[in-house]
Symmetry: C2
Subunit: 325 residues, 2 copies
């Protein structure tokens, strides 16, 4: 019986729990029986005798769970095999960093959707996992269900990855694609995106390239580049004008916010992309182009966000931990 504990029970945590239940038969056929033994958020928790359905209903109706202990107590004291860490991203690591460290030290595997802890201490967490003989999985931190991390770590394991260029923020890509099509000012498209729920009320985190830079740091470290958030050269999309798209178009280009890591570069900035290039992708998609020594250029794209997509990436981590071979 695989025992799973979940910390963070917002959209991502609930999405993961729902998917576990919906796919239970298939999951158990592949990796064996599992049980969610505890769920905690910042204000409440549930452990002992409960079902996933109970917990989700409780959270939605009463906006909280029971009071079965604080998250850190549950992590320290309860017996479980995998911690699913789905708390909100804080770039200094936040509580998530503490939760992940505690779980790894106990000898539990960790699956996280939270960029913060990895941005704050990638190397430290990886060596902690290794020393304790457990896995730290983080596919969901970059590009939703787009398979970036497993591509780099597993599929291209014997390749030298010379560089990665990617579109790592769906909100920015939506705004830029719309500006390309409509030739309307940035502010107007941003407002539209906010109305559609594609951009946040405070869009800073997305439009200044902070989110993309955090993901770039995770990709960089994954391919062996020891990068910190402060090392990323970063320019956002706020100053791009409709005229810039017109000029670019005349030459056969469009403009995209490109995150790039290579031996020479570590930056997030608006770049000209040929209209026929795969990175000229439109809408809220995320994409990444890996330049390798022996596998040529490998390109992947997918929806960069979404409750089910993120949960699906976390399930693929669970698969890899238990059915990897």
């Amino acid at each position: 019986m695989i025992k799973i504990a979940i910390v963070g029970f917002g959209t991502v945590g609930q999405g993961f729990a729902e998917l576990l239940e919906r796919k239970r038969e298939e999951i158990e056929r592949t990796i064996g029986k599992f049980r969610v033994v505890a769920i905690a958020d910042s204000k409440s928790s549930i452990s002992g005798d409960f079902s996933i359905g109970d917990a989700i209903k409780m959270k939605r109706e009463r906006r909280r769970l029971r009071d079965d202990g604080r998250a850190e107590e549950i992590i320290e004291e309860l017996d479980f095999d995998v911690l699913v860490e789905a708390t909100y991203t804080k770039l200094d690591g936040g509580d998530g960093l503490d939760y992940i460290r505690k779980a790894l030290k106990k000898g539990s595997h960790v699956i996280t959707s939270n960029k913060g802890p990895l941005v704050a201490d990638f190397r430290g967490l990886m060596s902690l996992a290794e020393r304790n003989g457990v896995k730290l999985m983080y596919e969901a931190t970059v590009g939703g269900a787009m398979p970036v991390i497993k591509l780099a770590r597993r599929y291209l394991a014997f390749c030298e990855i010379e560089g990665v260029r990617g579109i790592l923020n769906g909100t920015c890509n939506y705004i830029l694609s719309r500006m390309e099509e409509e030739r309307l000012p940035y502010e107007q498209i941003l407002n539209e995106a906010q109305e559609l729920g594609i951009a946040e009320a405070d869009p800073t985190y997305d439009v200044e390239g902070i989110d993309a830079a955090a993901k770039l740091v995770i990709i960089a470290n994954t391919i062996g580049v020891d990068a910190k958030f402060e090392d990323v050269e970063r320019i956002g999309i706020e100053k791009i004008t409709p005229e810039a798209f017109s000029v670019a178009r005349e030459k056969g280009y469009t403009i995209r916010l490109i995150a790039e890591v290579s031996k020479r570069a570590l930056r997030v900035s608006p770049r000209l992309v040929p209209l026929s290039h795969p990175l000229a992708i439109k809408g809220t998609m995320n994409a990444a182009m890996f330049k390798t020594d022996t596998a040529g250029n490998i390109f992947v794209a997918g929806r960069g966000a979404g409750k089910e997509e993120t949960a699906s990436a976390m399930l693929s981590d669970l698969y890899d931990i238990y059915a990897g071979n």
Copy 2:
């Protein structure tokens, strides 16, 4: 010590052997020491005391190896852990089918770049591998280094794959991209492609969609659709005119040879693709779009052929067999 035997020592077999040698240090650090214990082609073989370098030199200078036994004798009698099967594709399975069956029955893993055996008997080979507790790996049969098979089998393991649409033949895609750009007749572009070595002297296998259909059968079976080669509805690219591209373009489309599998379709045919769609990709690239229930649409692209790319896909199979978890 992992003992590897190679049958088929043309471009692919030699490319794999070269890459093994070139990446030896990294491979051995990850999966442990290995040795190539035998290499056989249709006319000659080498086993016992030899180096990879010796064998490649011998084959290039004398166009043959030694006479250390026929391929089937080596497979039946020699002690090895992995058979690398890189003989030439014959859609009825050919000798490759026999080699793979013999190796699986002995309890050896198999890595193949040969579509024929899988097209001829996918289910039979997979259950033979399972019964003998070994792996049959075939990433290199579809799309060169583009990670299609591992994406379907591992990464999307807990997803329902509702359908796959792909560009699975680089020669056709090169011809169609050039027709799109130059508006020249099919025959003229085909001649050009033949001069560049992108199309064969007899282009039938590519331009009639036979190669793409074989790969589609492998993808279909991988996602659980029990398809045979004869089941594929197949139309080639020979009748496409430059005018068709002009008409398509006016409506914002181009034309690509699309291989598609879903509950309703199993076909290879020229299709209209929106110019901004990822499958409008140009040149000798291969690409595939997976439609899934919970991970959304996942798109991958890469060079569909090439000695190093194919060898690189086979190395990723070796990684998965021995370092999978």
